[in-house]
Symmetry: C2
Subunit: 235 residues, 2 copies
């Protein structure tokens, strides 16, 4: 799992936040970055670590998480390849990471010193606007999830998380949209317990909406599941 | 409640996001902006309106809110004077506001066309970094509130909201830290009901932590309330 300079440059060209980067800027980032591999369940960084590096996922899946003082883990967001994470250090000096970043499977990220990333951003306003667009997307997602948490019933919340993940990470298969995801992750993302997730999923399976497996979910009736997510009862 | 150009410029100099703006940039913003007054409970904008304007609060208090399809309102954040809100249109073209902005009391905001705000941002990277810093603060706040919502008991959540508001909006008085805030707003911010907020506040009042009044709360024992917010029982 090594990456050549050419492969790293090709990966950087797929990063949304870098779509207005010049060829010279992409080359500079590829040269400044070092790929780092992390095993499943390992961490790229911990919450409150100094945010000295910016990460671009090259391979795998990473979850951004917070740990409560009592040790309970909350899943804030899942990062897919070609997404930027831990960028706060490029935005403000002396920042710390607001969340931890844990590999959900064996993962590789390009690690770029925050100061270098900041220097390249400063020289190109279009890059900054793209980074701000990423932030406003994230703000909107967090606001939506917060609103759901405040107002919605647990089954609807779980359905929303599944529909959102299907859009972000789902793979189309003959049986339906396949998601690789543990029930524990789903429980954390929906702000509920493993027990409740299992109960809701088996209810959906009985109604023919999904097929469940170990760390795997196939959405066989996406439209019906979207109706659950919208709070209407599927027919 | 009219504002002279000099008063508007003086107000803009107190805006955190504009602390690296040049004198010429502040003058340009003051000239491009128009003050708009909104009565208590009126709206500066609604969720999903085109984000054609950026707002800087000159006077009053404004809440950013979302309305669920069932009509339930969720309070996302309270804006104090000299804070920027509705800035998403300056970040990305064709944006819509992710939330509504409702005046909690008679309020005045300077209204600047998003395209003009964007043009001034583009010319000064320091302004963009300050705007990104504001966004990262907001992301951290939303993440914290989401985590609290998922993991904490309702009394602790209400205490956290009160402590956070005291830091943002509280006025020091001889009796303690005074907050002007309705129980309904508090219920929305803590993601609970008016009934629960009233029950919790009257419990705190009996224990001597606060004095309650109509739309008014005085924190008489800030340290003890912080202990509730941290999940430890005050002694």
């Amino acid at each position: 799992m090594t990456f050549s300079s050419a492969e790293i440059e090709a990966a950087l060209r797929r990063v949304d936040v870098l779509r207005h980067a010049t060829a010279a800027e992409v080359r500079a980032l590829a040269r400044l970055g070092l790929p780092r591999a992390v095993e499943e369940d390992g961490f790229f960084f911990f919450q409150d670590d100094p945010a000295e590096q910016v990460f671009i996922l090259l391979q795998g899946r990473v979850k951004l998480c917070q740990i409560t003082p009592e040790g309970q883990q909350v899943n804030l967001r899942t990062i897919a390849p070609y997404q930027v994470f831990g960028a706060v250090g490029a935005v403000r000096p002396d920042a710390t990471y607001p969340a931890c970043a844990q590999a959900l499977e064996e993962s590789v990220a390009l690690v770029i010193p925050s100061a270098d990333f900041q220097r390249i951003l400063s020289a190109n306003p279009a890059l900054m606007f793209d980074l701000m667009t990423m932030m406003t997307d994230y703000i909107r997602e967090m606001q939506d999830r917060y609103r759901e948490m405040v107002t919605e019933q647990v089954e609807q919340r779980i359905a929303r998380v599944v529909v959102r993940l299907a859009g972000q990470l789902g793979r189309r298969t003959p049986a339906g949209i396949e998601l690789i995801f543990s029930r524990q992750d789903l429980a954390e993302m929906a702000g509920t317990t493993l027990y409740t997730v299992s109960r809701v999923l088996s209810g959906w399976e009985k109604r023919g909406l999904v097929l469940t497996g170990r760390e795997r979910l196939v959405i066989t009736q996406p439209h019906a599941l979207m109706q659950v997510a919208e709070g209407s009862v599927p027919t």
